[in-house]
């Protein structure tokens, strides 16, 4: 009894676990239960039960409610889909003037709006693409093909690669100095010489449209949310869901509204990239000391001046970190958008992976990773660069980069012109190195993969078989064996113990949404895969982080490595694992582990670093050794921060599990992938995306609440 009084939480957790396991053992698996009938298969079968809600008939295999809840939200995807179809086909038909046919045509309003937006986006992408790699579509938009044939001078080619490279080098030098300039030069020379120029510029044009637009909308909404509490409250749940929503899932409704192609990809990229911009704008504006606002007001600023002359310049760094986030999300989406036919490196990567051409995939993947690092470093350098308001600079000093760029531009044009003579009858390598004429290491990598398979096939297969049969299958069976009631008791009970009744209600709502959707079984599989990945990632991440923390140099190096790895779009992680483990669940899980280890490591190091130095000294003076200091002082204090790392690890793992559907899993991601190729898949895709987001949010809520309480308890909140 004394023990219980001292450790009431242990007793409460034990009680919860006992209830959970009792329910698991008490509720038998129905004999007719099969995973494949996870209620999501919309097949007609006389043994199915049906109900009608909102005019939609939902069919499902009924089980004991304690085992699996009936999919009472099964109407939701059908309703979303039907609503979209109605909006796109029948809602508010109006007469619109058709330029091509020169007559009025009746069209639903939404179709007209989406078409206009699509046209605008396509125009912007084409414009930038034509500047970078040439083309005439935008000129033709304002003129005609006849005008082009009458004025052949208008057929200007794109910029030679030398000029773009020089521009990137100068910009990097301006932002950060020689190191970044050298890196930018090397990256662009690599891209060009390896024949990846065209797809890289296609991807870049995509980012150059999506990122500024996301920035403008994100900043605008962030400012509006800062000014209006009501808007902030309205935006908050959307921002929360969007943070944990897999980017994959958002593609499906975009396809219905905007079709496929670069324009749809840009729009959906904006949807994904705007939330972090809003959050960081809000964060930056909120962090401004009230003295600054007061001094602005006292200087006689009106609202507009206060915002744009005082608040935004003060919050500049946070806003620019938002720009960095926007660029990275745009880049990540540029790769994933290949699924809806967005051109560029992502498309090449997807094609290569589909053909299992690991060499080509690796080349495209390396380009993607290098550009991602470059963009990340450049945007961070921009964020950290301080404007020198007091420097007394000459005209040349102020404009030297522009002057150098003009010089480089002229030299680039001359070189490209000389190239037409030098490479007469062949390709002008000083203008652009075509895709199949660059250096290629694809053969080398493909042979390497063959060698790996020939040499280690037996071991890889044995490892695969062991992992699947001995670890993954039993774990999956355990998760699927959990009755719905037991799972909900466990999750809600955990919510109650961690954050009280409020937290319990929140996680209950989120879990019920998933349980009442037709994809509970698939959600359990997603959770099992994510859990496995998270456990291993945390083991690795916490160990590596702790070991690295022991030396300042190692910690700095490891954080640098994490920085680099974090910039890679998640899709890229599939290449090396497919290379080694082929198309198996093991590949997905290894990718999940590698991807999710990054936040686990980073937060461990940062958590341990955040322990006040005074405590170290106090501990040393108290005579503790290094191990005691680590276990008795550093770990307990760093643990809340490390738990935030765990939170990130879960989100990363979920994202990767969903992307792993490309390799072939049987979780929610697989259904999202299927929805992508289904003309009626918008509702399903969106609902599935929300389910994944909710899984993330359940853990997010539990962990954040615990961290908040723990920090308060430790006095470090």
């Amino acid at each position: 009894m004394e023990f219980l009084k001292k450790n009431p939480k242990i007793f409460q957790w034990l009680f919860l676990l006992i209830v959970f396991f009792s329910l698991c053992f008490a509720i038998e698996v129905p004999e007719t239960y099969k995973f494949i009938r996870g209620q999501a298969e919309f097949v007609k079968d006389p043994n199915q039960s049906t109900f009608v809600f909102a005019g939609k008939e939902v069919r499902y295999y009924a089980f004991d409610v304690f085992w699996r809840l009936p999919p009472l939200l099964g109407w939701l995807p059908i309703w979303i889909n039907d609503s979209l179809v109605f909006l796109m086909n029948d809602w508010m038909p109006m007469e619109f003037w058709n330029e091509d046919t020169q007559e009025f045509k009746t069209r639903p309003l939404l179709v007209e709006i989406t078409r206009k937006i699509s046209f605008f986006m396509t125009f912007l992408i084409e414009l930038i693409r034509e500047i970078l790699i040439g083309g005439l579509n935008t000129v033709v938009t304002f003129t005609s093909w006849d005008w082009i044939s009458e004025n052949p001078w208008a057929e200007l080619p794109g910029l030679p690669w030398t000029i773009v490279t020089a521009g990137a080098v100068l910009l990097s030098y301006h932002l950060s100095g020689k190191g970044l300039a050298l890196f930018a030069g090397l990256v662009l020379v690599y891209i060009s010489t390896f024949g990846q120029w065209k797809p890289s510029m296609q991807t870049l044009s995509f980012i150059l449209v999506a990122a500024p637009l996301s920035f403008i909308f994100g900043l605008g909404l962030g400012i509006a949310a800062f000014k209006s509490k009501r808007l902030e409250k309205a935006l908050y749940p959307i921002l929360l869901v969007m943070q944990t929503m897999p980017q994959y899932a958002v593609l499906v409704p975009a396809m219905v509204l905007f079709g496929v192609g670069d324009h749809a990809a840009v729009i959906i990229t904006m949807v994904v990239a705007i939330p972090p911009m809003i959050l960081l704008t809000l964060l930056g504006l909120r962090a401004i000391p009230p003295e600054i606002i007061e001094s602005g007001k006292m200087s006689g600023c009106n609202n507009w001046q206060l915002m744009f002359k005082v608040l935004i310049p003060t919050a500049r760094r946070d806003i620019l970190i938002g720009v960095n986030q926007v660029i990275m999300v745009c880049f990540s989406m540029a790769v994933i958008s290949a699924f809806i036919a967005a051109k560029g490196l992502g498309y090449n990567l997807l094609l290569a992976l589909n053909r299992l051409d690991i060499g080509m995939a690796l080349e495209a993947g390396l380009c993607i990773s290098l550009i991602a690092i470059l963009l990340d470093k450049m945007s961070l350098a921009w964020a950290n660069k301080q404007t020198d308001y007091f420097g007394n600079l000459t005209y040349f000093e102020r404009n030297k980069n522009t002057i150098f760029f003009i010089g480089a531009f002229v030299i680039g044009i001359i070189l490209a012109y000389v190239g037409t003579f030098l490479f007469k009858g062949t390709f002008n390598y000083l203008f652009e190195i075509p895709h199949n004429k660059g250096i290629s290491t694809a053969d080398f990598w493909n042979k390497g993969v063959d060698w790996i398979f020939d040499t280690f096939f037996v071991y890889i297969k044995a490892f695969n078989t062991w992992l699947i049969q001995e670890v993954l299958q039993p774990m999956r069976a355990l998760y699927l064996r959990m009755p719905a009631v037991a799972t909900i008791v466990l999750v809600v009970g955990a919510g109650y113990l961690i954050g009280g009744i409020r937290s319990a209600l929140v996680v209950c709502g989120l879990t019920l949404f998933i349980a009442l959707s037709p994809w509970w079984d698939r959600a359990l599989v997603t959770t099992y895969m994510a859990t496995f990945g998270v456990i291993v990632s945390c083991l690795i991440g916490f160990t590596v982080g702790t070991l690295s923390f022991q030396s300042k140099g190692a910690a700095k190096f490891m954080l640098g490595v994490c920085d680099i790895f974090q910039t890679f779009p998640s899709f890229v992680y599939l290449i090396p694992v497919m290379m080694l483990f082929g198309i198996t669940d093991t590949s997905v899980l290894i990718a999940v582990i590698v991807y999710a280890t990054i936040p686990a490591t980073r937060y461990t190091i940062e958590g341990l670093r955040s322990v006040p130095i005074g405590l170290h000294e106090a501990a040393t003076m108290s005579g503790v050794n290094k191990f005691q200091r680590l276990t008795k002082i550093e770990f307990p204090l760093a643990f809340p921060h490390m738990m935030l790392g765990l939170n990130q690890t879960i989100v990363f793992a979920l994202f990767m599990v969903i992307i792993g559907a490309f390799i072939g899993t049987e979780d929610l991601g697989q259904y999202i992938l299927k929805a992508l190729s289904d003309k009626n898949g918008a509702g399903i895709g969106l609902t599935l995306g929300i389910c994944v987001a909710f899984i993330g949010l359940i853990f997010d809520n539990l962990i954040r609440t615990w961290v908040g309480k723990r920090k308060k308890h430790l006095g470090i909140a």
């Binding site: 129905p30 043994n47 009924a62 004991d64 409610v65 304690f66 008791v489 009970g493 113990l497």
Partner: protein, 183 residues
């Protein structure tokens, strides 16, 4: 007064016990909600009955699959005098009940002896309405057939072609009617 006393008593309960009580209540609420939901959505006897039917169907399907996989691949006949595998009476019945498919070969063979059916079949672009394979308990024989319908020379017709299924084709995965004797 009573309420106040009650509240004061509640306040004196230690925090850990109150929290534990809360946990028990939350757990009970969830379980009771499930009981209520089971009363609304649990389909009781009907669900059990349907589950039983489903179980029987799965068991039957399993048996049939086992039978089919044990049969030799090729043509299975019900009569003597050929090189093909001859089915015992017992297996003949089971194969009949397991067979669902009537391939085009068997349909065209049966159509040879039914000119009007053949004409409609050709006019329709080799399409048929439906097929059936039935075990006739009285005659202890397997009957297969199909119906064709359409407009032939201005007349709407629906013709059912039926006959004894004399042989089957075993593919190793399923069995199909190989020959329909409709004369």
């Amino acid at each position: 007064m009573f309420q106040e006393n009650y509240l004061n008593k509640l306040k004196t309960i230690p925090e850990w016990l109150r929290q534990f009580g809360g946990l028990v209540i939350v757990t009970l609420i969830i379980i009771l909600s499930f009981v209520a939901l089971n009363n609304i959505f649990g389909e009781g006897d009907d669900l059990v009955k349907r589950m039983k039917i489903e179980e029987d169907r799965i068991a039957e399907e399993r048996k049939i699959n086992e039978l089919i996989s044990s049969l030799p691949s090729g043509i299975l006949v019900t009569f003597d005098g050929t090189d093909h595998h001859r089915l015992s009476d017992d297996v003949y019945e089971k194969v009949c009940k397991a067979t669902k498919l009537i391939p085009q070969r068997a349909i065209m063979g049966a159509n040879f002896l039914n000119f009007r059916a053949h004409e409609i079949y050709t006019i329709n672009g080799n399409k048929i309405d439906d097929t059936f394979v039935k075990w006739d308990k009285e005659k202890n024989k397997c009957f297969a057939g199909f119906t064709v319908s359409g407009n032939n020379v201005g007349v709407d017709e629906k013709i059912a072609v039926t006959g004894e299924a004399l042989s089957f084709l075993s593919t190793g995965i399923d069995t199909r009617v190989y020959y329909i004797k409709n004369f």
